[in-house]
Symmetry: C5
Subunit: 287 residues, 5 copies
Amino acid sequence: MLIPATVPPHKRDEFHNNYATLTKDTSKLLLFVADQKMQSLNEEFFGPDLPAGISDPEHIFKIASQSNVGGLSVHLGLMSRYGQQYSNINFVPKLDGKTNLTPTDPYSQQIWSVADAVDVARNGNMKLCGVGYTVYVGSEYEREMLTEAATTIKEAHAHGLVTILWMYPRGHKVKNPYDPNIIAGVAGLGATLGADFVKITEPDTGPHDLIYAVQAAGNTKVLVAGGPARSPEQMIKRVEAQLSYGTAGAVIGRNIFQHPLKEAITIANNLAETIYQHLDEDNFVGL
Amino acid sequence: MLIPATVPPHKRDEFHNNYATLTKDTSKLLLFVADQKMQSLNEEFFGPDLPAGISDPEHIFKIASQSNVGGLSVHLGLMSRYGQQYSNINFVPKLDGKTNLTPTDPYSQQIWSVADAVDVARNGNMKLCGVGYTVYVGSEYEREMLTEAATTIKEAHAHGLVTILWMYPRGHKVKNPYDPNIIAGVAGLGATLGADFVKITEPDTGPHDLIYAVQAAGNTKVLVAGGPARSPEQMIKRVEAQLSYGTAGAVIGRNIFQHPLKEAITIANNLAETIYQHLDEDNFVGL
Amino acid sequence: MLIPATVPPHKRDEFHNNYATLTKDTSKLLLFVADQKMQSLNEEFFGPDLPAGISDPEHIFKIASQSNVGGLSVHLGLMSRYGQQYSNINFVPKLDGKTNLTPTDPYSQQIWSVADAVDVARNGNMKLCGVGYTVYVGSEYEREMLTEAATTIKEAHAHGLVTILWMYPRGHKVKNPYDPNIIAGVAGLGATLGADFVKITEPDTGPHDLIYAVQAAGNTKVLVAGGPARSPEQMIKRVEAQLSYGTAGAVIGRNIFQHPLKEAITIANNLAETIYQHLDEDNFVGL
Amino acid sequence: MLIPATVPPHKRDEFHNNYATLTKDTSKLLLFVADQKMQSLNEEFFGPDLPAGISDPEHIFKIASQSNVGGLSVHLGLMSRYGQQYSNINFVPKLDGKTNLTPTDPYSQQIWSVADAVDVARNGNMKLCGVGYTVYVGSEYEREMLTEAATTIKEAHAHGLVTILWMYPRGHKVKNPYDPNIIAGVAGLGATLGADFVKITEPDTGPHDLIYAVQAAGNTKVLVAGGPARSPEQMIKRVEAQLSYGTAGAVIGRNIFQHPLKEAITIANNLAETIYQHLDEDNFVGL
Amino acid sequence: MLIPATVPPHKRDEFHNNYATLTKDTSKLLLFVADQKMQSLNEEFFGPDLPAGISDPEHIFKIASQSNVGGLSVHLGLMSRYGQQYSNINFVPKLDGKTNLTPTDPYSQQIWSVADAVDVARNGNMKLCGVGYTVYVGSEYEREMLTEAATTIKEAHAHGLVTILWMYPRGHKVKNPYDPNIIAGVAGLGATLGADFVKITEPDTGPHDLIYAVQAAGNTKVLVAGGPARSPEQMIKRVEAQLSYGTAGAVIGRNIFQHPLKEAITIANNLAETIYQHLDEDNFVGL
């Protein structure tokens, strides 16, 4: 495990422990997320095809608490209202946010500082392992996000916390955000910012082209977004294919929480098993 | 009563007391408001159909002081000029504001900090129980408001104060701000920001669809705006209907203050009785 | 006299003294102003119909020093260069400013802090009694001005200083800035910001409609702008009429300083006598 | 000599000395400037009609060091690289800057603080006597410049340094920046900001109309820009004419540095003699 | 070697050592750079004509560590993840950045402070010799960049670090960014900001016209960009020609890293030999 030089010496053990907790002592990670509650409001949580009751935030916390996911990423405000009741969860709060109603070029502004996350966790006796932040590369507000991302990494590492960047290519000059070379580029950009993990999307040319992103990211690990709703079996196959090209795991939301509690827990556990028991030596396809 | 993890341990008792004061030891709240004095200037306070003299700010403070409302929300500047003369009021100052003459996308900027409110209350021996802030979801300035809302909640909780967010969907992408799913969405957004209460409007499909907002908000309590002028009897019925779908009370301005003092006090007391004596077990309609 | 709760207890005496000095122990105020030297550059100080020499800043200070005006409001920079030579003046420096050459929506930015004013007065042994700030209600920059106004009031009161807000309705949505209801609205807005005095203009419907502004402002006192050039006799009549509807005095510039020194002093003294000797009980017309 | 009230008592002697150094114990000033090196890049320093080698920054410092000019104004960065080699120069570093390639309304942003200038001078054992800053009156960015100008004056005076404002009328509402009334207006504006000296341009109606600027500026002294290239003899005559209308000296760049070193020194010395030996009583034409 | 007055006395030795390390006790510098990994994402690191594997960041660090380049410039985030494994490199981290997908006028915002660079180097026991920053002269954001450049120089010198400014003329008013007079102008602008080195491009009139930039920059040293892909032999000739007109070296990226490791090391070493063994007395062509 790499401990980057943004982590001061007296925080190396803490960083090591947080990294080991999220990855269960592997180099892999399944991150369960529900930051859509801010981004798309009630859209992912209510509808004719969705089970009743999943919009209650407690649904998210129950799944995270009763399954083997590596960590949970929700916005810090929600964590402050539920986290102390679910103290076995490994938290990776999302510090930025916006809704999909904003009329401007995308900019998911940093709403909370790393110190805010540390305060909430300490007040509520929660396990804080890392933090998450989003960069829309190519947006009119790209520069604000690059700076907030780098600052978040610096402050998180100063607290011994793991950092995960959501890297999305967007804007007028981005013709295809699923182009493998663009995706590799934003993965590499995450590395130049100093991230431990980057969350990217699978290229539209298929999972094999994730190898370019994995290479460009170097010692920054690559996680892949869960994408549109799929059957649990499809999700497992998809994640297995991605892992075989060198990725380090997945960031999954709706494909877990859009199911009733028991089902959701089973799906999460199966994904966790797939990811955490993946052996690199058997499956990795080199460049 | 939930004490969120943004409240530090040494402020838990103070938060508990403030919450209990506003809710009169129930989980309900009637908040009397006159922040229209900034937002719409003299419009709600003067006109051919309105009683003379209600534009004198003293009218507001007299009603709040002589009735059983749970709290009063006016802008902090006005509170600094009248509050010490009406020391039995439970204050929830509004910290943001703008007028309806502003030509831009709505942004009700934070004008005072939580620390300013604490200073005013201490200087004038007033009872400060909480603070209020407005978010126009979907505005060009949404991100500034999300950040100011979260910061206000953090700082208010750090002082043991209760927080109430006014949540309004607005802007080009909001086709119908009274759509029940949008309203549920902004209620849930208030929860992701960590608010104790959110003030929303009743959906145009009727009070029963407030249950979606109540569910999405989880342990953040839902208050409903008083809306356009109505007869006192209509107001009572309306609030009763709303409460039966799980809301926690109402935020009422013109339907109280657009009456002469004695009438206004009676109306406020009847609303307070309706809200604070509402029994959840008798009336709540589950999902 | 009201001491607002933004004044801390240990500054109450100082605030009381400053208020009593400006109002000569009445509740009235004649404020002499020359902030036009920034706003309209040389326009008000030079021209074919104006006496020679009035553009020399010393003209302003001589009038203020040798007459009975309640206070003088010039920009702090000018005060720093002349104030120590005229140490009997009661200063109310203007802290904001812009010129009428600015191409944008009006925004008279805060240029100096209250602390700057305190420093200048202390260094030069001047009598600092209050500060002034301008709000263009309805401008694209309204929110910056609301915040700067509230901050200025907070900081001025923290130093025991009296605050005066210049309240001007402006912008695309303001059809008539002389509408009595708009004027009452901005007077009331000054109260929500916590001002001790607001300077407004007389409605185009006549001085009697100032009563709506007086009522909406509550315990914030109303001062009326001097307006276009008039004869000294007309000015006295105008101010008398205004006072009879409950206003607290006037803010006058060109109608004083556009006269040679001796004349200007006489005009100022006559206005001061009119304002400070006005008896409310004899003349006030209730609503 | 006036010591303004922005100078704290313990810095009055230092201010007095700096003022006396720049003015050689008169009330006049010849400021040699080369801030064009940022504003117009290589334009003023290279061309078919210009002597070779004048673009080497050392040319500027040699002239200043070997002539009798009152002070030298270059950007602080350049001063940090050459100043310690020319320690007999009286420095008045320019703290703001932009190039003429900027596409926006003019805004010459403050790049260095007064404290930065003090640090550089102390590290390099240089004589720091004052600082310079530019205001484009009428620009879209006027308000930023008014505030930075006032802040610079405040901070410079707090360090006992003399302040010089470059005052240029610009923008859509400025029909003629050489109109004598506009020029008088911006000179007076410099006084409202608290400047010790303002640099303005000569009106297109001739030097006699500088008397309006001199009057409007009051006890702020007026310096006149050198303007387009002229013969040394023309320059002397021009400056003599200006002085006879009450100005305090000149700010001259290209008319000095666009000559080979020896010539440049002679020109500078002749101008210095003209300015510093000018007797007000003999020549001043009153209003 | 010049030690500018922005370097405080107690940091002069450190500055001297850092300068001597980068220049190998000459006045020359070969800076190897890979800041393209942020600026152009994967474009320079992957393609049909490029060797496989060069997008792995380790490729960059291996070249820098195993060759005789004077220093390596990559973004600080990447340095924090690889630097401690390659502790013999002389680091000059790039503190600003943007991607070529940004839709606005160019502004490569400062992402990290000088203090951040110092922290990373200390945590990881790396050799930090200087920092780099980019200015797009003529951009709508020019003023932000001029200020950030000057601030970076001030802070870097305060830490005894050498500063290098990337100076690019850009924007609507820049008709030809390869015009020799414009290039000389931005080189001189770097001097007014106080830079130790400026990186410019070769004029389209040929290397001989670099003498104008060298002269305008004075005691700020001039480095030339490597430009488009060329053969190693062409690169050597090009750099030799540039040096003969007084430049101090080169800043080279793709012409080194777009080769397999061994080749890249050889190319770098040959360039280093050319630059560091260049004798000014033999080759310099005066103006």
